[in-house]
């Protein structure tokens, strides 16, 4: 098995293209959640790590740098969503914690916002609107969709509804 630290990019306005190499994360490995702000993208956690990397998402070149740390090292397989001011990392292989961090800056650690509706959820997909972030699926697998208020830094997740089927390790946008 090969672990990668490479970062590919695509043009979001073009339907047909191959990805191109932009640069590298600060570490290799999988089960990484990712979210973004207006200017920066953040890779959070992974297998036995609490590292948060960031990249400049306004350019197509450049490596990632270390921003800070999550509150825990068990956030591998966590779901990630983004608000205008904060990025949120929910769940993990043995955690129901929701971390948040400032997604407008390139330094600073995460803090605890609240809890997911279920314990030990990993392999979540995350999508967000203007006010709410949604975590879908995950272990066992299940079909649960939780939501959180992405405009605030406190508060637990609430059940919104169900996916059409129980799945884990889902991609979301």
């Amino acid at each position: 098995m090969a672990n990668y630290n490479t970062i590919d990019y695509i043009d979001l306005s073009t339907a047909t293209q191959n990805a191109t190499d932009k640069g590298d994360l600060t570490r290799t490995g999988g089960y990484i959640g990712a979210t973004e702000g207006d200017d920066y993208g953040y890779w959070c956690g992974g297998v036995s790590t609490n590292v948060i990397d960031y990249i400049d998402i306004t350019t197509t070149s450049g490596n990632a740098s270390d921003k800070g740390n999550l509150t825990r090292t068990n956030a591998w397989g966590a779901g990630c969503v983004a608000g205008d001011s904060y990025g949120f990392v929910g769940g993990g292989i043995s955690s129901n914690v929701i971390d948040y961090f400032d997604n407008t800056t390139t330094s600073g650690n995460a803090s605890d916002k609240g809890d997911m509706t279920r314990s030990a959820c990993w392999g979540l997909g995350g999508v967000e609107g203007d006010s709410y972030g949604f975590f879908g699926g995950g272990s066992t697998p299940d079909d649960i969709i939780d939501y959180i208020d992405i405009t605030t830094t406190s508060g637990n997740a609430t059940d919104k509804g169900d996916l059409t089927s129980a799945r884990q390790h889902i991609g979301g946008f």
């Binding site: 695509i10 990712a34 207006d38 306004t58 609430t158 059409t164 991609g171 946008f173």
Partner: protein, 505 residues
């Protein structure tokens, strides 16, 4: 000596025509006692000495009669005596039979008689001839001499501030100037007062002058009538038949009357706008005749360019979005003038709208749309399938991307399922949108305004496929490949680019 008047003064005046003009006339009988002589006296001639001279002279020589008193003895002129009429003397040529003891009587008429006449008599007589043209001169009037009535000496001109300036109380300035009235109260004024009703009657009869004759400018209106206008009762709800007075600039500024109902937007039923014009390309509302900057068709949505002409709009062309918008109502070539509707109802039979739909500026040149363009302004509402209420707002907005309404979950547990949820609400289940091109777990995704991308997954793949995130149906399509096959990675998106990083195979 005795004096006798043998004729009244009145008779003298009446007979004056027989006399030398200016003379007076009277009789005199004089006793010449000094002529008494002795019987024996003889004399060749004798003159009347001063005491015996005729008292009143000059004398009319033809009137002289000389005789011996109380006798019939008369003495003849030239025989017995002569006279000097001017001197009033008689000279006897001989004594004749003049005898002592007798008085010689001389009777004569004389001029310049001294007359005693009263003022009343004179006044009475004057009154008989006084009147126009009588020629009488008055020495005094009311006891004043004529000289007292003579005009005072003054200069020919009366210059302001000069030596002979006119100084009359109550006047000021030059006589040619309008003289201000002296302050006075109404009770003391000499104005002819009238009530408002009377004033209105006079105004209504203003075509006639005081004599009832036609005025040459019968429709003239006063200046400075603000107070009069303020006093006129206001009508809060005019009706069509009410009249206004206007000054017709196209007819020598003549005063004319206009019915309220004839005014655009006038009172009564004329206020009504027909929301569904009766013919194709008909319009109701505010419109104007303006110039096309290019070839235009009826129904084209146009904007006013900086050259003062109208061109087709397009919601994806920033230069055409702002400012004044209008609907072209007829086919026009470049630089033609025609009617453009600025606000109101417009019917175009080629349209087919959903009634009540909000209409936007379309990305297509000159067209309306029921969906917002790239950037758009709300243009109005569909009143019917072929008629719109054109009421463009002044706000520009960028239409929200459909991906911001819906969130998508793709793959997982070795499936190709793509679910969507409404990310604007906190309840509701996911629904199926379509399928990925591959069935994978450990997938990562990122999205732009129109497309969402799923990349990689396990069993390991480098496939990237995309979906249309503005709709809730449709399968994914292959986009291309990641640089390596990977799963368990993360993805983020910026405004322009999406990034996949980490993971493993």
């Amino acid at each position: 000596m005795k004096d006798y008047l043998t004729e009244s003064i009145g008779d003298l005046i009446k007979n004056r025509k027989d006399l030398t003009p200016g003379a007076k006339y009277a009789y005199k009988k004089q006793m010449i006692s000094d002529l008494l002589v002795a019987d024996s006296d003889t004399f060749s001639s004798v003159s009347l000495d001063a005491p015996n001279s005729l008292e009143y002279a000059p004398v009319d020589p033809n009137s002289i009669v000389v005789y011996k008193e109380s006798t019939s003895t008369y003495y003849q002129r030239y025989d017995d005596w002569t006279c000097d009429p001017a001197a009033g003397t008689i000279t006897f040529l001989s004594t004749g039979d003049i005898e002592a003891g007798f008085n010689i009587v001389v009777e004569y008429k004389y001029y310049k008689a001294t007359v005693s006449i009263s003022a009343n008599e004179i006044l009475t007589l004057i009154k008989t001839v006084d009147g126009d043209g009588s020629g009488l001169d008055a020495d005094t009037v009311d006891g004043m001499e004529a000289s007292e009535f003579a005009a005072a000496t003054h200069a020919e001109t009366h210059e302001n501030g000069g030596a002979d300036e006119i100084d009359v109380g109550g006047l000021s300035g030059e006589l040619a100037d309008d003289q201000p009235p002296k302050a006075h109260d109404l009770a003391g004024s000499k104005h002819n007062q009238c009530t408002l009703a009377e004033l209105n009657a006079k105004i209504s009869d203003a075509t006639l002058d005081d004599d009832g004759d036609e005025r040459t400018d019968g429709d003239a209106i006063h200046d400075n009538v603000a107070a009069e206008i303020n006093a006129i009762a206001e009508k809060a709800s005019p009706v069509s038949g009410d009249l206004l007075i206007i000054e017709d600039s196209e007819s020598s500024n003549a005063k004319k009357k206009v019915q309220i109902g004839n005014l655009p937007g006038g009172a009564g039923s004329d206020n009504d706008i027909t929301p569904e014009p009766g013919s194709d390309n008909g319009y109701e509302g505010f419109y104007g005749t303006m110039t096309a900057g290019e070839t235009l068709a009826a129904g084209d949505l146009c904007y006013l360019s900086n050259d003062g002409k109208f061109y087709q709009t397009a919601a994806d062309d920033e230069e055409t979005l702002g400012g004044l918008l209008a609907i072209c109502t007829e086919a026009l070539d470049e630089d033609d003038t025609g009617v453009f509707v600025l606000h109101g109802f417009f019917r175009h039979d080629a349209w087919s709208w959903n009634v009540g739909a909000t209409l936007y500026m379309s990305d297509t040149d000159g067209e309306f749309s029921e969906t917002a363009g790239s950037t758009s302004r709300i243009m109005g509402t569909a009143y019917s399938d072929d008629c719109i209420y054109f009421n463009p707002d002044n706000y520009l907005f960028t239409a929200p991307a459909a991906g911001r309404v819906y969130g998508f979950f793709g793959g997982g547990s070795s499936s190709n399922i793509i679910d969507y949820i409404n990310i604007t609400t906190t309840s509701g289940n996911a629904a199926d949108k379509g399928d990925r091109t591959v069935s994978k777990s450990e997938v990562a995704g990122c999205a732009g305004d129109s497309y969402g991308f799923f990349g990689g997954g396990i069993s390991f793949t480098n496939v990237v496929d995309y979906i249309d995130i503005t709709t809730t149906s449709g399968n994914a399509t292959d986009t291309g490949d990641l640089t390596v096959s990977r799963g368990l990675h993360g993805a983020v998106n910026g405004a322009t680019y999406g990034f996949f990083g980490g993971g493993h195979t």
